[in-house]
């Protein structure tokens, strides 16, 4: 039996799916990436380092901030640039805005509808007007944060190697802070709706969750440059970068990765499994109510824990704003950069998981070599593996119903094919 889905809509980018079964067993199952090669890693070579974050954020229009941030961090490592506490707080604020923005789109528009029995959002919006408004208002909040800190919602402008070209003044921080409680309430209300309405399918796979970690806080910024996994792995970012292998199949524009010859996964569920003890109070309460045995083996829970991250992010935004108000904020935080030869790796947690950028810079400040390892490239292998297991459960369903189930698992992973092909 052959199963083929030409195009999976409602994900970032373009992909399809193919599988074949023989005597009730899966012979093969793979995702088919339908994106063109943009060759962005190649485009960067030869360019001055200042252009890199500007170009690289355009790898993805849903999570541009994290591409911008991990490029900047990698370049700062290569150039030996240190940034101060205020800059890091602003960067975290900007990233949390994007985490909310991306997760809300994924949950409310892309993946969530699969589990509410209506994949056409325009119909869904009519069915749940109150919840739609909650999601919209949370998205407004996140966009406002990105506009205030980054200068624009999609593709940030003010960020650069060394700091920010301009920084918002305290009245803007107060504006964000003032909205936090209201939005936290909206997020909790939406969570009750989600947890009550959404019925997730059963799935049992072996999960190897990988993410950035820090001892201080539930980490997105990658402060400690350490990568951990649920299997007890704990290594420096540099060692992790050297340990994972990028594979390429003929015709494929995505380089999937392996860790010790095995698939692993990154993303909200991986972060949650690795760092849940560091969640903020309201988010932690929600996490504790989840069926703990199931979340360790069922990728569909990615959807639910993304929303727990939304709750956590709002609590964290409040903390950061309060901290910033107690500090002296300069109008700009630009640094004079001394050029030097060097290599640097930078990593942050994108909404979809661990994102890594690598650059080698010449003494003229131009890029000699570059590499980008995106979350989707890292979990695509794991997704294919889960699809094989899930297919066995649903193989006898009618075609249309089975196709929808396959798509729903793909969408729950929240793949970004634009990112993966870069």
């Amino acid at each position: 039996m052959k199963i083929k889905i030409n195009h999976i809509d409602k994900i970032e980018g373009h992909m399809g799916f193919e599988a074949s079964l023989f005597n009730g067993n899966i012979k093969e199952a793979f995702v088919d990436v339908l994106e063109g090669a943009r060759l962005i890693e190649g485009i960067l070579r030869g360019r001055p380092y200042q252009d890199i974050p500007v170009i690289n954020c355009r790898v993805c229009g849903v999570c541009p901030v994290v591409h911008n941030m991990s490029s900047i961090k990698a370049l700062e490592n290569a150039l030996g640039v240190k940034v101060d506490k205020v800059v890091i707080l602003f960067r975290k604020l900007l990233m949390l805005g994007e985490i909310i923005q991306s997760h809300v789109v994924h949950i409310a528009l892309l993946s969530g509808p699969d589990f509410l029995g209506e994949t056409n959002d325009l119909k869904l919006i009519k069915k749940y007007p109150k919840e739609t408004e909650l999601a919209f208002s949370l998205r407004d909040f996140s966009i406002k944060i990105m506009e205030i800190v980054g200068g624009r919602a999609i593709h940030p402008i003010s960020t650069e190697v060394g700091g920010f070209k301009v920084l918002p003044n305290k009245s803007k921080i107060e504006e964000i802070l003032k909205d936090c409680d209201k939005n936290l309430k909206s997020a909790l209300n939406f969570y009750s709706f989600l947890a009550g309405k959404v019925k997730l399918p059963e799935l049992e796979t072996e999960l190897r969750p990988v993410s950035n970690s820090s001892k201080e806080e539930y980490n997105f910024y990658g402060d400690d440059e350490r990568i951990i996994s649920g299997q007890g792995l704990d290594m420096s970012l540099e060692k992790f970068y050297g340990t994972i292998k990028e594979l390429q199949k003929p015709k494929s524009v995505v380089k999937e990765t392996e860790l010790y010859n095995r698939h692993y996964f990154v993303g909200a569920l991986a972060r949650m499994l690795n760092q849940h003890e560091l969640l903020n109070p309201e988010a932690k309460k929600l996490f504790k109510k989840l069926p703990q045995d199931k979340i360790k083996s069922n990728q569909f829970y990615n959807l639910i824990v993304q929303w727990i991250e939304v709750v956590h992010a709002i609590e964290e935004i409040k903390n950061i704003c309060e901290k910033l108000l107690s500090l002296n904020i300069p109008r700009s935080s630009r640094q004079k950069i001394e050029l030097r030869e060097g290599e640097g790796i930078g990593s942050v947690e994108a909404p979809r998981g661990t994102l890594i950028h690598y650059y080698k810079i010449g003494k003229d400040g131009r890029i000699i070599d570059s590499n980008t390892i995106t979350p989707t490239a890292q979990f695509l292998n794991d997704l294919e593996h889960s699809l094989k297991i899930y297919l066995l459960q649903i193989k006898d369903l009618p075609d249309a119903e089975r196709a929808l189930k396959i798509k729903s698992l793909v969408r729950a992973y929240d793949p970004c094919i634009s990112c993966a092909t870069h």
Binding site: H7, K10, R45, P48, L122, I125, K251
Partner: protein, 258 residues
């Protein structure tokens, strides 16, 4: 009964999908705009395959990197009464066009193990592929401009983009001139409409909205070349793929004056 609803399709080629994401940042306004409109394609919101039948307005985002992208662009042109590019990638090829300038075969061989198995077409301006009726410029598009133009098209009006430069808009807002401070800013030769949003954050304009046709390119480039060199000037204009278009306009202008 005959269906009189206006039919609109939003098509996505190879891109970052940021423009589609921008549209969804104003969801209430978007829903209001598409009240009484039939969306024949918008894969961000629905999961149904496109049926190719005549429709009214095609908004096309992204550049034509694959053969399939080219086919979608041509089909959208064939079936739509009005063809509109959405964002810099569709209009000028976007950041992807840099691969043309750097030698795309060489780049593919640097990056991939099996470069010959990968589709790697020349990235082109949309106006060189199909007849384009309107452009909604910028990387990424700004939501207000999109909604204004979409409203105009839905109501059967001709959308207009005011012909003025980014530099003019920057000065009117009283932003500090970073060109005078020695940063190579393309504001004086770039079509306005963005409200000089980059200059607000002290980022020099890199011409993502494309050239303002009435600009004095020669004199501005002389200034930039003195400041940062010709190589850097060309590099900047390559970021958003507008270099070719500017060269085309300059050539036409020279021929006219002859």
């Amino acid at each position: 009964m005959e269906d009189k609803k206006i039919k609109i399709g939003i098509f996505s080629l190879t891109s970052c999908e940021g423009c589609e994401n921008v549209i969804s940042t104003k969801p209430r306004e978007l829903l209001k705009a598409i009240e009484g409109v039939e969306l024949v394609e918008y894969k961000f919101l629905e999961d149904e395959p496109m049926r190719w039948e005549p429709f009214d307005v095609a908004f096309v985002e992204g550049s034509t990197i694959t053969g399939k992208n080219l086919e979608v662009a041509k089909k959208a042109r064939q079936y739509a009464k009005i063809f509109v590019t959405l964002g810099n990638c569709a209009q000028f090829g976007g950041i992807h066009k840099m691969k043309n300038y750097r030698g795309k075969e060489k780049l593919a061989a640097e990056i991939y193990k099996y470069p010959k198995t990968i589709e790697n077409n020349e990235v082109m301006d949309m106006e060189d592929i199909v007849k384009v009726d309107y452009n909604i410029p910028t990387c990424p598009i700004n939501p207000k401009e999109f909604l204004r133009i979409a409203y105009d098209l839905i109501s059967g009006r001709k959308p207009i983009i005011a012909q003025r430069t980014v530099c003019y808009e920057c000065q009117r807002r009283g932003y500090e001139c970073i060109l005078m401070k020695g940063e190579p800013c393309m504001g004086p030769i770039t079509l306005g409409g963005c409200g000089a949003i980059c200059l607000k954050s002290k980022m020099p304009c890199e011409a993502c909205r494309g050239p303002y046709e009435g600009a004095n390119f020669d004199s501005h480039f002389k200034l930039i070349d003195k400041m940062a060199g010709k190589k850097r000037r060309e590099e900047i204009l390559e970021i958003f793929g507008v270099k070719d278009k500017i060269e085309k306009i300059m050539k036409e202008k020279k021929q006219k004056t002859k």
